[in-house]
Symmetry: C2
Subunit: 340 residues, 2 copies
Amino acid sequence: MRPTTKDLAKAAGVSLATVDRVLNGRSGVRQKTVDAVNEAITRIGFERNQVAATLARQRGYRFGFVVPRSGDEFLSVIVKHISEFDQASRAEMIQTKIVRIDEHDPHRAARTLSRLSADEYDGIAIMAPETPQIRDALYRMRERGIQTVAIISNQQEEDDQSFVGIDNVAAGATAGRLMARFLGNRSGDILVLAETMQSRDSLERRLGFDRVMSPGYPQFHALPTLETHGYPERTNLVLKNALAAHPDIVGLYIMGSEARAAIECARQLKPDGKLITIAHERTPSTEQALRDNTLDALINQDPGHIVRSAIRTLRAKCENRETLASQERIRIEILISENL
Amino acid sequence: MRPTTKDLAKAAGVSLATVDRVLNGRSGVRQKTVDAVNEAITRIGFERNQVAATLARQRGYRFGFVVPRSGDEFLSVIVKHISEFDQASRAEMIQTKIVRIDEHDPHRAARTLSRLSADEYDGIAIMAPETPQIRDALYRMRERGIQTVAIISNQQEEDDQSFVGIDNVAAGATAGRLMARFLGNRSGDILVLAETMQSRDSLERRLGFDRVMSPGYPQFHALPTLETHGYPERTNLVLKNALAAHPDIVGLYIMGSEARAAIECARQLKPDGKLITIAHERTPSTEQALRDNTLDALINQDPGHIVRSAIRTLRAKCENRETLASQERIRIEILISENL
DNA sequence: CTGTTTTTGAGGTGCGTACCTCAAAAACTT
DNA sequence: AAGTTTTTGAGGTACGCACCTCAAAAACAG
């Protein structure tokens, strides 16, 4: 039989009340007593029964997902998965809410974050570009006793347990390698497209891409990143200009998570030239493009996995546990039309 | 506030005891009453609190993983993940044991299965080739009240909820497409290697592979599958013979989950020719081969995911729930050295 | 209608923990 | 040593459900 708190109390030579105080980090216990209880924990191999604990705690967990207000297609996929998970996890007493922030106004965003209280949330998963204001707000949030994780875009140099998402340098490298291999023995220029190069994600992807291309494949020349700023018209324009200026384009790498406009352009270009096109994030449009061969490959991070992993990570932090690393590692998926 | 069994009893106009009888499928309740309770469930949106339920049930869940006794490298990875999960899920009151069966002796295997009792196991995940004996044993197991899922190799035409693994036809097609694209505009013969073509997995992979190659790429010719039967010496032999007989070999597709010997051969062949090599399942050796460029790509199914998904599926069955489809779908992963 | 069987209700206990209160004990302070 | 503060113990309640017993009620059979 697994030892219970009762057994633990006996083993440590203290009362249940003291065991409770130690286990839940309440104050008013001498260090000596704390040590004695901890010693007993390891000695008898006590493990808190999380099932009973959550039941007794009465209120399960309330987590918030902070996401940009205005978003691309990928964001809506994420949001869909959040509410799907919320549905499915009600029986496990986990509630999930979505909190929108203004990604273009760091101050307002920080203010929104500062209003999130520990009475309302046990943990927050945040998806936002890193700015000093946000970083600060997160710091204060943790001081208020709210657990945090960053998802998709890493905030600063966080530790493993505070970021759920992929290594974007590796993702860019993956795209680069595929691009090179799919191009085979051809040669020419490669277009690289991003929403903005201000964001760390784009910078890292480009870095990884170049790291593979530059030394390994001198026959290709990846042009400077073109910025679309998320506007379809601008995307059309910069693409058209680039194609005019560089007749020898053989590849197109769409780095951002909003690929619709770029794909549309590629679709029109595709029939004549054999343009190899690679994009990120599986969405209805990228999936469609993969099926109709407009896209040759898709680099994806499973949004469902990210959402669930963020929740598990937050919960583990609330319960002061470690996560199972292998489960929380988000894969850089390569999708082609055969393994959709 | 979420409705509890008490609320449900009131809403259905019955007592708590009757609600309990209906919820847990006990006998001695008129159909009419059952219907009334079920109606009330949907009407007030009752959802059983699983946390409280497992606590009250006292004993959590005991699951068994039935795996072949003698196995390849992939199997040991699976086993590692099972015990890792067992460790991590003790706090959730889930126990997992490994049961070995003799894969080469269907009768003995079936006998082992028949000895698994409902007193010991709530559910069984089985990884075994399909034979009439096993199929039968599984059927009887379900009659005994033990839930089952097949993992990795599907048993017959099971429904979605009874199989955790990948679509091997699609996996073969993925390998085929990658092979073709990596070969580019070259032409020649492609070697296909399997442990045995008796197994459904190999047949399906080959089918998928051919479905992509045959119509789409006339410049390649995939040779008949060579069987290694899992013996390194035989692998060496058949490979050597094949290479002698077909000087024009440009690709090697290793279909089985035991790739060590074949990789070793490929490693020796690689320097001179530009042999494109694709294998299945990530293991220490295939991973190493990917890093040193002996392998060009790896088709993988995440063993950790499979194990966890099998458990979740079994648990859902025990609790008479549906699973979250998107979470249980095992991906056909494409691995190259950049996204390991 | 009576006797038998089936169905239902009322009530209880326990799971392992959280969280609360109040008094007693121990540890400090001056 | 007396007073003050800190630490500990004892005991209780609650969470939502599973599982049990026994008696009462309802349905059915003859």
